[in-house]
Symmetry: C2
Subunit: 120 residues, 2 copies
Amino acid sequence: MAATRGEPETTEAVHEELGALRDSIDNIDAAVVHMLAERFKCTQRVGRLKAEHQLPPADPAREARQIARLRELAQDAKLDPAFAEKLLNFIIAEVIRHHEKIANSTRSSAGVPPGSGDPA
Amino acid sequence: MAATRGEPETTEAVHEELGALRDSIDNIDAAVVHMLAERFKCTQRVGRLKAEHQLPPADPAREARQIARLRELAQDAKLDPAFAEKLLNFIIAEVIRHHEKIANSTRSSAGVPPGSGDPA
């Protein structure tokens, strides 16, 4: 069991440092949210293209290449490659859900020429 | 059932557009990996601070504020707020795992003064 610490000076310094770190975390999270908003714009266009041209929503070969590349990038950036892989799988699962929704809504609007409509 | 399409010109154009979209997705993913590598540097420092000062690894009030803020940012960026919340929970779960590891290794090295060692 470590000793209990409670000197006001230390506590204040700790809370100041915690606050500064949390500000950085909040800035990073805002950046990530905006990057992912752009990413979903891209994958939504991919989803529409795939639905209009009857390509399957999932693409295991592409996903394998993405995972291998991201694991390498993570390693270089000193991020746990296993975490990077889990994260990509998490995002891809969401994208596939979107693609399936788009495919369903494209199939249900038969007769619409390709590229003419945003199924969302 | 929609009609099957296979005109070579369309197929080539589709693959070109798919390729361009995937290049953008790959660029965004690289950016996100590097942002998250920085985020984990911050949370590792938070984890060490918390462990050294016997603060609990999880902080539900802070997490609630983060989730509310990110949902708002997501909404403004036209990203599904539910997805942003799930993503943050996914990242926080990983961070808490790290904090618990750091807390355990700090507890097991009793007598080490605060700030003197990186338990990783």
